[in-house]
Symmetry: C5
Subunit: 255 residues, 5 copies
């Protein structure tokens, strides 16, 4: 039930690769469309965890990096109030070797209640089997005007704590001060930044990560900013210097 | 199945701290955002119970005060007819050490039926495990024009009794006479006032509590009027004098 | 599985007291708001059954009169197509000592299907535990223009028979002839009139009951016309003379 | 799992009597409103099966004719897209002595999916207990313009075959040729005509039945055209001559 | 859990015959309306699998060809956002002798979540019983403008991989290059083309199949283009030459 397995110096970097279901292969190129490439990258670049849906885990996971199994998801083809239902049992996640389950909650959605209830059950099942429960908390739906507004991000963080998540994955607010409040709101739940689409430049991205760390977060879950990078291994090394060795952006870039 | 554990002189004061999920951290400041602060306050100020969601209970509850575990909830981000689904199993609440479960029913909501059914099941599960069942009964939704109208508050109280709640948490009507009818309507179910947002002044708040007690209620569940107070411990002492020692507002304030 | 426990001379009078949930305490006065008063009345006036929701049964039922436990219900605060979901398990009803379960089906409601299914399951569970299943059948919803029209009342009665109810509680059509058809449509299912709101005068009410009996019904479930009466015990005696002793309205009134 | 019990010379006539739930007692007169009359008629006139809802079966079925228990149904009071949910468990149908379960599927309804799923489960449960599964397949809902159009009737028949029904009950298309296609589409599933409301004349009705048989069907499920007849037993004898002895309409009428 | 049983030279041709439920018998003629004809064709022409709904499998399947049991489906009579619910248990599919289950997911439908969840459960149940799980993935609903657009087809393919399908059945994009991307997106999940309605000419159809194979797919699921052909056995031989012997369209046609 703890996140320790995913941490080094109390920090952690998760390699996220659930975009195939969430966005479709439009996020991929000829190389990173292959889950084997991602699995190899996760292992060789010493990520602290790799995030797969069940299908990828069953066909490509090799045990060299702790596994976070995303047990719900939806395609981006569906419109209307977002809802992502469980598509993998917690028991199956455990058999595959997952050390944590991941679950997305769209707070603010008209279907929020379904996801709160489902996460509640899944968290208990995961803990019984010794796995951590990580909540992807995304404020979304008609009622949400700005999902990176400081009070919205802090609310997302707190929701994870209240529901019993061991860690929450949330978006960055854009500045250290307001994100510190989100981290504080998350209490003993670890905070990981959701790094989102590829940033305009490496420095832009790294400054975000630095801000998140300065605000007290544990780390980040990163996908496109690594595997869409022309040299993913180098970017992974930069991130390790920044996050695990706690260096400045400038020093981190000297790899 | 009884509320005795939560009572002293047949009165009780519960420290409510489920606002993190219901309203977000916007209710909090740097101090009270920390559940450990609340847990300490509950214990040192001798509250008769502390109300947590599962996540807070798992990470912060230390057994020094009887625990009421709120097993449902929703964020305030969702619009439309209110619905709060179960996010913690009764069995898990029991493992954590809860002596009562709390459950919110939005009577009047288009989704009322789901919550009546869910509470019915939860009440039976809780009693089987020796825990009390406390119903937060809030008339809400399109059909409810004024949720503190005397006949609405009395209806809320009665609904709890009919459904088998050991105690109901309801809003104050604003005057002793009409609240007495609500208390009478609740029969053998204990009545706790929901104290709501911080009152304009301490005296205003305490007069409400006094009215509630004069009407025959058992006590109150209080959150913001204590932990948003500049001196929460003092306010807790004032409340004990008012509620447990049954003093007047003026005497209670002489702490 | 039989109604015999509730009958005397093949007739029966049930004291209905589920109005607290269905209408709220607005139906009550200082005396009859107390379930203990109703329990005492049911016993001392020798009613053939008393109808409670789970909460009242758990806190006030004393075994002196056979218990009908209403296992579903809704508040009158909700608008739209009516739906009442199960809020008490059949097993729990049995533990409390119920000899029959009661269940309301709103035929004609857009949610009719949920209630037909739920009653179907509950009827089987009740029979397995040796309890009778009584169906409150109320045609209601957008599609129902007049719920006391003869063909509608007969349809309600027949629905109960088809679904396996041991007894049906239906409204009076207003005349003996048409109600006789409803009773015939109910076949071997016993028919109880739902007596509804307090009638303009005692005689009006008793003539309705007399009509119902002349039409072949088994009896009635009565609430407000007894406990809103200035002398409930006397009214109960009048009803016994009318229903059990099968006298005329005029003779029945000579108590 | 076979229909053999319901057949004689590979033909069968089922006496349908689920109209009390589906249409209400408006279909009945003083005699046929009584299920005992129908049970007696079924036995004395040697029908090959009698169709009851659970309530009638429990109170009136005497074992003299094989029982088809209709396990779902709805009232005609509900408007909107049709949905009939299960109101009798398959296990209970078996205990009562049913040799087949009947289930209505409204194909084309917005709720079609619920009924396909429910029938799928029920068919498996029935087969496990050695009972046949008969599907009443009625194209209905906004999307259906003409439920006796040849291609619609053939689709209904085929749906039953695909879903695993042992027999399908469908409407007549009006001519032998097009109904032959429906029968062919049903493959090894037996086809029974749903005879519907009382026909303008006996000959009209019998010509329909003759057409259905000439098209290769197994028989019919008949209700109103028998028990609304002034001499139901004679009509039953006529039908036996037509269906089981395979005579012409004219010869069949010479009873 | 593997597709090997369905492959020859790592290629496979499945004979699809679930059109009876999906489209109705309008797709059939006097010969191919008979499932026995299809079963015989599948066996004599050495297809690598035959696709049936439960009802056909129970009544016509003879074990001479591996069985893919389609466990969900819907009629084409229903309008609105598509939804196909499970109508056959995985356990029953296994008893009947299926070597794989088939399940349709309408991605982009407002009901997508129900099908993702249901497929997730079914896939696990199938694997536990040693059966493969094949996903028919059809982008459909208001939100889908063009279901053969390259990015949509690739998304469909990827969705199957992410969800744990052993094989996906998807539509052809119309050109080799874009379909190659779909195949790549499917990773280790086998790709079968859904061949759809009868093509204008044999050559047109075969060129599509050739394109699909050149793009790296495993084969196709074919129905109407075989059994609506005037000589289904010959067409089956042509397909074997094209797909299994990997010949050109022109050579394949020299049978």
């Amino acid at each position: 039930m703890s996140m320790k397995l995913f941490l080094e110096n109390n920090r952690g970097i998760l390699l996220a690769y659930d975009q195939g279901l969430e966005h479709g292969p439009t996020d991929f190129n000829d190389r990173n469309v292959d889950p084997a490439f991602i699995m190899e990258l996760a292992a060789s670049a010493k990520f602290h965890g790799v995030v797969f849906q069940k299908g990828l885990a069953e066909k490509y996971y090799n045990g060299r990096v702790p596994l976070v199994l995303k047990v719900n998801g939806k395609t981006s083809l569906v419109k209307g109030e977002p809802l992502a239902r469980q598509n993998c049992s917690v028991e199956r996640a455990h058999e595959i070797g997952a050390k944590a389950i991941g679950y997305t909650i769209y707070v603010g959605s008209a279907h929020e209640g379904i996801m709160l209830e489902e996460f509640g059950r899944i968290q208990e099942e995961a803990h019984k089997l010794g796995m951590a429960a990580i909540a992807w908390i995304y404020p979304r739906g008609e009622a949400i005007k700005n999902d990176t507004a400081p009070e919205i991000v802090a609310y997302a963080a707190r929701t994870g704590l209240e529901l019993g998540a061991d860690a929450v994955k949330i978006k960055y607010t854009g500045d250290v001060e307001s994100f510190r409040w989100a981290v504080k709101s998350a209490g003993k739940a670890k905070v990981f930044m959701s790094s989102g689409p590829k940033a305009p430049s490496e420095v832009d991205f790294l400054r975000q990560v630095r801000g998140v760390l300065d605000a007290g977060a544990t780390g980040l879950a990163v996908g496109r900013n690594v595997w869409q990078n022309s040299d993913p291994s180098r970017m992974a090394r930069v991130l390790r210097r920044l996050v695990i060795e706690d260096r400045s952006v400038e020093e981190a870039l000297k790899v």
